[in-house]
Every structure is written in C-alpha cells, then in structure tokens.
C-alpha cells in the first residue's frame, strides 16, 4: 500500500478508496465474465473484445493506483492477450474462453483479497499460463502462415472481387514498427495516409483506432494497388515509424469469412438486456437496511397513534379536536404506506444479478459432463427483494447442477432417444400475485418415481401398504428428505443428487416453498416460490399459553373452531377430522418448549397451515387478529431455537410478537408431510 501512503492519505481515505475499488472491481469482473461467455458466439466480436479490454484496462489502472501490483500486472498481461486476439494472432475458440474465464476468476480472487491489501499467489501462475498460451497460439499461427486475421467480413470480400475485376493487385503488407517509433498509433495514421497515395486500403489490422496498436509489433494492411510489389516495398519505408516491410500477394484462401448463420454456441446463452447505467446511485446495503428499520419503527409508531386515537375517542367522545386528530392520523398513515412501499422498492433489484452467473455455470458443467446444453433465461429483469438475491444463487446453482449432472442426457443418449441432441435448461422468474416464482426446467430424463419409492421402502420411510396410496407427485418429494437423495442409485439413474434437503431449508428460510414436477423421459421442473418482500408480512396473531405469536398469512389456509372432543388420537398423535379430510395437529407449546399456562378450554382454535400442499393444524388458545408486521431478525439465543422463529416484531402497544416459521414447526413436530397419516386414519 506504499503508493497510497505516499499521497499522505488518512487511514480512512485509504479504507474508503479500497472499498470503492472493491465494489467497482467486483462488478467489473461480473461484467467481464458475462462478456467473455458471449464472445465465442458473438456476431460482433470486435465490439465484445473492446468491452473486455476496456474492463481489463480499468482494472489495471485502478489496481495500480491502490497499490495492488500483482493484479495490475495480471490485467496488463490480459490486455496483451486481448491485443493478440484483436490482431488475429489468437483465434476465438473455447480454449480461449477458458483461459479468459480463468483470468476472470484469478482477478476475482485478487479483488477479494484486496481489502486485506494482499495479492493472491495465483497471479504469477496465471501470468505464466497466459504466456504459454500465447506462445502456443502464435506458434500455430506461424505454421499456418495466414496473412490475414480470420476476421474478414463480407464487405471486404466484395471489395476484393471488385478490385480484381479492375485489374488491380491485392497485397498484404506487413509493416513492423521501427525501434525508435514511440508513437505507434500516430505512426499508423501516417502509414495509412501515406499508403492511400498508392491504392485503396481494404483492411488494417489491428484497426487504425485500436488502442492495442501501442503494444503491437507490426500492422498489416491489405491494399489494392496498381503498383508493383517491389515498388510498394520501397514506398513503405517510412523513417521513424516503419522497420521491416514484407509485401505479399494477398491469397484468397487466407480469408476466413465470418459465418452468416450463428454458430451453435451462439444461442446457448441468451443475450442479456443491457440496463442503462444512467440514473443509478450506489448505496451500501447497510444504509438501506437502516432506512428499512426506521420505516419499520414508523410503522410501529403509526399503530401506536392509531391505538391512542381509539382510547382518546373513548375517553373524550365529544372533544372537538377529535376529527382533526383522526384526519391527521389517517394522513400520516397514508404517507407512511407510500413511504413504506417506496422503501420496499429500493430493496428490489432485478434477479438478473443472480441469473447472470448461470451462463458460466452451465457452460462449465456442460463441458465437464460432455453435454451440449442450451440455457434459456427469461424474466431476468423481474424485481426481487435484495435479501433473496443475496442467498438464492447457491440453491439455484445446486438445482441447475443436478439438472445437468443427472437430468440431461449425453449427446449420444439423446440422439438414441430421438431427442434434440442439445439439452435445454430453462431458467425463469416472474411475479405471480404477491409471490416471486423462479422456475428451473430441464428437458432431461426426468425423475423415476418408481425408483424413489423403492428407495423409500428400503430406507424404511414408508411401508408397502402406504406406498400404494402415494401419488407420484408425493413420492418425488422424498428427494427433499435429508440423506435420502445421497442414495447412489438415485443420483446415477435418475437422480437429483446431493443435498436437496439443504436447498429446501434455504428456500424455507426465506419463507418460500419448493415443488418439483417431473415426467419420466421428458424433464423436470423445480418451482420455487417466495414472498415479494422479505421485510414486511401480513400475519395472523394468536395466543398460546398466554404468549403472543404470529404466523405468516400466506401459509394459513383456514382457521377453524373445534371442541376438544373433536380431536382424536391416531398412532398416539392428535388429529382432526376436518370435513372429508383428517389432518395432523400440532401443539405449539410442546414444540417451542413453553409451560402450559392458562386454563384448559373446551373450545380451541385450529389454524390450518398449508405447507407444500399439505394441511397441518396448529392448536391455539385465542386469536388476536391480523396485522402487518415489520420483521426484525432474531439473533440466535440459547433460550430460543431460532430455526422455528422466522423473526420478531413489535406491535403498536409495544408488545413483542414472535413470528413462526411454519415449515420448521412442522418439521420439528415430526409430522411427516407425506400424507400417510391422512391415509391411515381414513382406512
């Protein structure tokens, strides 16, 4: 960090500089990865290369200025590589994409370490790799003796034919820069001005305005001229700029024409919409959370006022100011609702931030598994809560990885099955009501429910009798049970490999749900559903043992009043016959370990929650009401098993309410949400 300290910046300045660098660099690397992935199949490779180079260039400058020498030299080297590509020395193929991605990874690692002011030890290795890659490639180039870079457009080809018709000769002139030429791009301007005097220039490589000219050893010019070869040779010796000159007739077969149709890799990745960078500001998420918290406090304040207003009305029903008080209160309420919505909006960001990692993931995995896979992304600009963006990436990657590893067949298999040899992974996000839905769909072999059922019996999860009654849809859900999915046979034959239970836990931690639909031989779809906002929820408030709890309204299916005598015991577990169905019941006090307080009642309330399409009843003493709650997270404490508590909130009267996480409660209660209870009771 000596570069910084020499400027006599304060510690704080340095820290903030580093942070700024970090945030920008992370974004740049993301962009970089994106552009690299699109490069291979891109129509306008030149434009992509320019973007990639600009990113490396920015990173180079920035890292140098905060003293990250390693990163700065790595990005410099990367620029060299880019130059080699632009000058046609290195072809754009999947090996190149690989090395560029590796560089991006290495840069990313270096950035991560930048906050500590260190460079990563991988940099020198990466730089060596780039060198040997370049050597290898330029060797190939020499052998093949191509005069021109492979990029030769349709337009140039037409020009060429035209000049030939006019009886002009087309030459490829290679002009190396003389040692004393210190201004190469100015030199190129001069060369080209000079050359226009003897003919028509068809192409210059690197292009005249390309920055990499500064690092180039030579430029190549394809020109149509009536001059003889030796005359041209002589004409090209421009002192101070040009060293060696070689003039060759331009050979037709050297021209590789950019294919008009897109190469197969082209549509593997859906071009992402560019979001205008204008009119955005960067705000630390902590600051936003703070605002969110404050709005939360205000919401509490609002309900306090509302409550006071009620009391006031009771005590002074004839008070003149009552009306004004009431209208002021409702004004505050309206504005606060607007504010709340606006702030909530601030937390929303396009899910693109998550989705844009996927082209890379799919490409890498497809390559590793020798599969040909197309990724289609829809709804990448669907706005979702920041909290969701932060954590949903990993579970999604997990699902996609499983889909590629186990779902999509190899090219040969697909061919044999008469399927499109290119498999498809479909990633989509959309809003549905108050939910965000994310779907991951593949057109692979699907999940074999028969195998799952066999496995379930083998594992003792279910009896043969029960098996009969389980629908295929229900059977699939076994994959979400811990340990189940590690079954070897499953992952080999049909499986959604390892750790789907982890995915489910994460999804439920976000108050979401996950469902699978699968058709054997056709494909599998995972549907993840989340509440639109993670910060404020509508909830039902109720008492159990004189304690106040809340449960998110979304998971509540109905509330019913029952007599104690309606509750029956099956297998030592309480169940309730509700209309045609029998549903398992849960006593909250047993699950969250609280003393039984208050009088036993004859009449109880049962809140029926719907967890993954199954109904389970929670027995409560008294219903308090429905309210909008601002969720505050609960820090883990030995007294509270926080997995069952989704958060806490403060009511208008200052009372604290714990918000339950329904799926965790159900899990804890040991009610297997498979449905066999229902079945066995009615039997």
């Amino acid at each position: 960090m000596e570069d910084l300290s020499s400027l006599q910046l304060s510690e704080e300045d340095i820290k903030s500089l580093k942070e700024t660098f970090y945030h920008q660099a992370v974004e740049l690397v993301e962009l970089l990865t994106q552009d690299v992935l699109l490069l291979e199949g891109s129509k306008d490779k030149g434009e992509r290369l320019k973007t990639i180079k600009r990113i490396f260039h920015t990173l180079k400058g920035d890292s140098a200025s905060i003293g990250l020498k390693g990163l700065s030299s790595l990005t410099h080297k990367a620029e060299d590589l880019l130059h080699a590509i632009e000058s046609g020395l290195v072809e754009i193929d999947s090996d190149l994409t690989d090395i560029l991605l590796n560089i991006a990874d290495c840069v990313h690692e270096a950035i991560d370490k930048s906050l500590a002011g260190a460079d990563t030890p991988h940099i020198p290795i990466m730089m060596k790799n780039i060198d040997s890659f370049l050597n290898e490639r330029s060797g190939e180039h020499d052998k093949s003796d191509t005069n021109a870079s492979s990029i030769f457009g349709e337009y140039q080809r037409l020009l060429l034919a035209d000049y030939r018709k006019q009886g002009r000769e087309v030459y490829n002139i290679r002009l190396s820069f003389s040692e004393d030429c210190h201004m190469k791009s100015a030199g190129v301007v001069l060369i080209l001005q000079h050359l226009t005097g003897i003919g028509d220039i068809i192409r210059t490589s690197p292009p005249q305005d390309a920055k990499e000219i500064e690092y180039a050893d030579a430029i190549e010019v394809v020109i149509a001229s009536t001059m003889a070869r030796n005359e041209i040779q002589k004409f090209c010796s421009i002192p101070g700029v040009v060293g060696n000159v070689t003039v060759e007739e331009f050979k037709e077969q050297d021209i590789a024409i950019i294919p008009k149709d897109l190469s197969p890799t082209q549509d593997s990745f859906v071009t992402q919409k560019t979001i205008s960078p204008a009119a955005t500001i960067r705000v630390e998420s902590e600051k936003m959370d703070k605002i969110m918290d404050l709005v939360g406090e205000l919401v509490i304040g609002r309900s306090m006022i509302a409550q006071l207003l009620l009391e006031f009305e009771e005590r002074f029903p004839r008070e003149e100011m009552l009306g004004r008080f009431a209208s002021a209160s409702s004004f505050v309420e309206r504005s606060l609702s607007d504010l709340q919505r606006s702030v909530m909006n601030l937390r929303m960001m396009p899910i693109d931030k998550v989705f844009k990692r996927f082209p890379r993931v799919v490409r890498d995995l497809a390559k590793a598994g020798d599969k040909d896979i197309r990724l289609i992304i829809h709804g990448e600009d669907t706005e979702v809560d920041k909290g969701l963006v932060d954590v949903i990436g990993e579970p999604l990657i997990h699902i996609v990885r499983n889909a590629i590893d186990h779902g999509i067949e190899t090219v040969e298999e697909r061919n044999a099955l008469g399927k499109d040899i290119q498999g498809t992974i479909f990633l989509e996000a959309y809003h549905q009501g108050n939910d965000i839905v994310i779907e991951v769909k593949d057109d692979g072999r699907g999940i074999d429910t028969k195998l799952i059922k066999e496995k379930a019996i083998e594992k003792g999860l279910i009896s043969n009798d029960e098996l009969e009654k389980i629908s295929d849809d229900d059977a699939i859900d076994f994959i979400f049970l811990p340990g189940f999915s590690t079954a070897k046979v499953l992952s080999e034959v049909s499986g959604r490999g390892i750790g789907m239970d982890v995915v489910k836990t994460v999804v439920e931690g976000l108050r979401g749900g996950i469902k699978v639909k699968s058709e054997l031989g056709v494909g599998t779809t995972f549907i993840l559903r989340f509440p639109l906002t993670l910060a404020i929820i509508k909830a039902i408030l109720f008492n159990v043992s004189n304690r106040l709890f809340a449960i998110p309204l979304v998971s509540v299916k109905e509330i019913t009043r029952v007599f104690v005598k309606d509750i029956s015991l099956v297998n030592n577990k309480e169940v309730l016959r509700l209309r045609e169905k029998v549903i398992p019941l849960i006593r909250l006090e047993r699950i969250v370990n609280i003393d039984r307080r208050g009088t036993r009642r004859d009449k109880l309330y049962v809140i029926v929650v719907n967890i993954e399409d199954r109904d389970i009843g929670i027995i409560v003493d008294r219903l308090v009401g429905e309210e909008e709650l601002v969720i505050k997270s609960v820090v883990s404490h030995r007294l509270v098993n926080t997995s069952m508590i989704g958060g806490a909130s403060i009511l208008g009267n200052g009372q604290v309410v714990l918000i339950l996480n329904p799926s965790a409660i159900v899990k804890k209660a040991g009610v297997r949400a498979i449905g066999n209870e229902q079945a066995s009771v009615s039997a």
Binding site: H182, M183, S185, V189, L190, I238, P239, G240
Partner: protein, 139 residues
C-alpha cells in the same frame, strides 16, 4: 546514407529553406544543426504559434519543423492556419511523448511527418530527408 548526401542527389545550387518553431532555444539549436548538416538553411525561428504563422507567410519556407507540444496547443492551431492558407505547406511536427493524440490530430491536419522528443539527430535527419524527397527546393 549520410544526411549530407541529399543535396548531391538534387540541384545543389538551391538550398532547402526551413522555418523552425519551438519554445525551447535548445531544441531550435538542435534542429538547426541537423538542417544545416543536411545542407539546408534555417530561414527563420519562431517561439510561438502566432510568430510562426506570421513568419511563414513572410518567408514562405520549403519546410516548417514545429513543436506541437507547446503551451496552449499553439502548434496545432498554427499548423491548421498555415495549411488552411497554403495547401502545399510542408510541416514536420515535433512532439514530446505523451502528446500522441495531438500528433494524430496534426497528421490529419496535413502534417507530413513527426519527430518525437527526445530528439535524435540522425533519426530526425532521416525523417526530414523522407519529406524532402517529394518537394523541390524553392517552390
């Protein structure tokens, strides 16, 4: 090839006439030395762009050698003015490293060549000779 040889190839009786523009006296002396070595003659010296324009139309030199990295972009302006009024003006520009964009601009304005500082006499001579190839002294 030695710099002195130029005039042997052409008509020795008429010498090429030069205008040297640079704000540094040291640089002007250096250039003058090269010009004279090659058998040319420095007809005028200017230190600013304005002076250069005035002097150019007074003495009508064969070649102008002018620094464009002078303060306030004067060199570039002078070049533009001169070329505007005399389409055949031959201007070689001199530039310090780091002014490449100015050099490119100058070339697009019709400068015939550029010499980069730090100044190397033999290289400069070659460049001047290259430009002179296309012109006859005392147009």
């Amino acid at each position: 090839m030695q710099p002195e040889e130029i005039n042997k190839e052409k008509d020795v009786s008429v010498k090429y006439r030069f205008l040297v523009v640079d704000d540094s006296i040291f640089a002007r002396k250096n250039i003058a030395k090269v010009v004279e070595m090659m058998g040319g003659v420095v007809e005028g010296e200017a230190t600013t762009g304005r002076e250069a324009i005035d002097l150019y139309f007074k003495i009508k030199p064969d070649v102008v050698i002018m620094d464009i990295s002078m303060p306030e972009m004067e060199g570039l302006e002078a070049l533009a003015k001169i070329r505007e009024k005399d389409k055949n003006a031959n201007v070689i520009i001199i530039s310090s490293l780091g002014y490449q964009e100015l050099v490119k601009k100058a070339l697009s304005l019709g400068a015939k060549h550029f010499i980069s500082k730090p100044f190397q006499s033999d290289k400069a001579a070659e460049i001047i000779k290259f430009v002179l190839k296309e012109i006859k002294p005392g147009r």
